[in-house]
Point group: none
Chain length 361, copies 2
DNA sequence: AATTGACATTTGTACGTACAAAAAATATAC
DNA sequence: GTATATTTTTTGTACGTACAAATGTCAATT
């Protein structure tokens, strides 16, 4: 047999859930409820206290007891932390310090705190980071997708953010399965310009090193193919060296084999990014392939490793810090209630000439 | 005035947290507590009910009230996340990218994830970061103290980490109130070498710019005084320009006033760090004070801003990335059960000559 | 029409009595 | 010594009185 207070709890909860008592509405006073349910005041209070603990009600001395909006925003009930979560594949490497600098700078201008986690391009670590951010209750998120070209089960989390109306924006790539806001370099254009530059320098035997698990890899390949097509050059699959996050460890070995194998068939390489570009430079040095005399090399992203290398790599720009600022700005604006924010932003790359591309005459 | 039931809650909670009542142990009966605290049974029950709702206690009809294992597994029940929390004052600026690079590199070697938050040298933000790390349940922590030379109420959190046996280590500074492991540059030695270098170059009118809210500031001042003493030079308080995190915004203005005011009394400045050193260089340029012809300047930390400046600042080394690696290594070793870890490590600085120090003859 | 003060209403704290239900302790029977 | 019944202990439900503290309402005053 149910205790009396439980009868009250069930009845009042039912009235709340069915809309008889709506959010913000005052329910009958304790003494009124005593009469309605024919119980003591203590029993009424016990029921109200329990419903308050569950977030359905809140009481105010001298005023009454109200249906709490806490119950409905149960998933948003976390205190306003003024914290933006940032999830990137790496923190210290490559272009990420610059991106993070942009993010941090903009967030600091608005007195937002930054909480940063890295995934190492691993879906399990991304999951962990997402759960942690959810659990803490960040106000918004800036996310670089993990293995953006592959199906990622963590997509469910992003759907959850959408439901909870937690603003988030992706950088560098996005999940094509989701309709989410993002900021990206125009990767097609980056490789297109790179390939076109080689073509304009007389190269017809152009290879590419491509990363298969990230969306950037896919679109940089697309730009390469587009430029080949415009130059009436045939696309040869054997001129493609492909790798992913897991096989990256062996890339240098495979690269040397590839370069040796194709030594007579390639005069130029479009590289997935500067890091790969410099690995090609190093491999050529080891193999005795003169750069750029025998093989021209173009990187992408204008990373600090390209800027600091012993050889000035020809490369394409990446917005880096500006992208970081814009991402932070987007989230802040969203949190301030802006509805008219652009949801898809592409940055156009520019060529930065180095000394790794030779003109064939 | 606290209600009686809150007194009971606080007292019983304190007994649980301090181990007087251990997990699984039965606390005194309701009627015993009535007598102990001289309150009614209803007041006892109200306290117990609330502690039960918070997960500290559980009651069993006919048996008694027990300390719940729910409470203790509240901080330990989290799945092993293999995540190390890092709390730094800044992320993108100054020497922090290098430190973070060292941390991240070592953690990745052991497949630990990194969770990073910055405090902007503000105790409230540090509190937020600590609570978030606690709530998520990091395996260990690397912490740069906030305003390390001042009392910080967040010290209670560090005590709590110790209680919960969550290994943590401090970098760059530590709270002298606590007996905690730390990794620090020998700040006394850094300023001592700087000042001694100026003395050896014939300087007798040496000023210092010092930061008062960080422990580094205190010990760099100490090294300066020590070197003055050894050279039989008198310490003049009016040759000291002091600032803190809050007044840093006005430092440049105050610096220019100071330099103009003391133009005839100073031939050299020991600066709290490179950032300050470069600000002095800029101020001199604005004031038409030739560097180093009229004023010699030494920074400290060998930060990237010193390395990348237009003028090659004379400075002292800081372990940066190595410190980061060592900190991560310490936490990992601790988590692996090592008991014989060194708890106080100092790095000895070396002078790096630039072009900002002139020899007086 | 706006402000102020007095009073009424409502929730919050604290005490009490009484009985129910479940577990633990003790007594009894074999 | 073991099993069972009885008693005691302990928490759970429900009722009551009393006063404190905060809010809301209404009437009087400006």
């Amino acid at each position: 047999m149910k205790p009396k207070y439980q009868v009250l709890i069930d009845d009042i909860k039912s009235k709340i859930l069915s809309g008889v008592y709506s959010v913000g509405e005052r329910i009958p006073t304790e003494s009124a409820l005593q009469k309605i349910y024919n119980v003591s005041r203590q029993t009424v209070r016990k029921a109200i206290l329990e419903l308050s603990n569950e977030g359905f009600l809140r009481s105010e001395k001298g005023s009454g007891t109200y249906v709490s909006n806490q119950y409905q925003s149960k998933s948003v009930k976390k205190p306003h932390n003024k914290t933006i979560g940032v999830i990137t594949t790496y923190i210290s490497d490559y272009i990420f310090p610059s991106i993070i600098r942009g993010i941090e700078g903009r967030l600091n201008e608005e007195n937002y705190s930054l909480l940063l986690a890295s995934t190492n391009n691993d879906v399990e670590q991304e999951k962990k980071a997402l759960e942690m951010m959810l659990s803490f209750g960040v106000d918004g998120l800036i996310i670089e997708p993990t293995k953006s070209n592959l199906y990622n089960p963590n997509i469910a989390y992003y759907l959850s953010f959408k439901e909870q109306e937690i603003p988030f924006i992706m950088i560098n790539a996005y999940y094509e399965e989701l309709d989410v806001p993002f900021l990206c370099l125009d990767d097609v254009q980056s490789s297109y310009i790179a390939t076109k530059e080689l073509v304009s320098k007389g190269h017809t035997q152009i290879g590419i090193i491509s990363k298969s698990d990230d969306l950037q890899g896919k679109y940089r390949m697309k730009g390469y193919i587009k430029a080949l097509g415009e130059a009436k050059l045939q696309f040869h699959p054997e001129k493609v060296l492909s790798f992913d996050t897991e096989t990256k460890l062996d890339l240098y070995i495979n690269l040397k084999k590839f370069l040796l194998d194709k030594r007579d068939e390639l005069t130029a390489m479009v590289c997935y990014n500067d890091e790969v570009g410099l690995e090609v430079v190093n491999a050529c040095r080891q193999l005795g392939i003169p750069v750029p005399d025998e093989l021209s090399i173009i990187g992408q992203d204008n990373s600090y490793i390209a800027r600091n290398a012993n050889i000035k790599l020809t490369t394409l720009t990446h917005p880096q810090e500006q992208m970081g600022r814009d991402a932070a700005n987007w989230v802040i604006k969203k949190l301030q209630g802006n509805k008219d924010l652009q949801n898809e932003i592409y940055y156009q790359p520019l060529l930065i000439e180095g000394v790794t591309v030779k003109e064939l005459t």
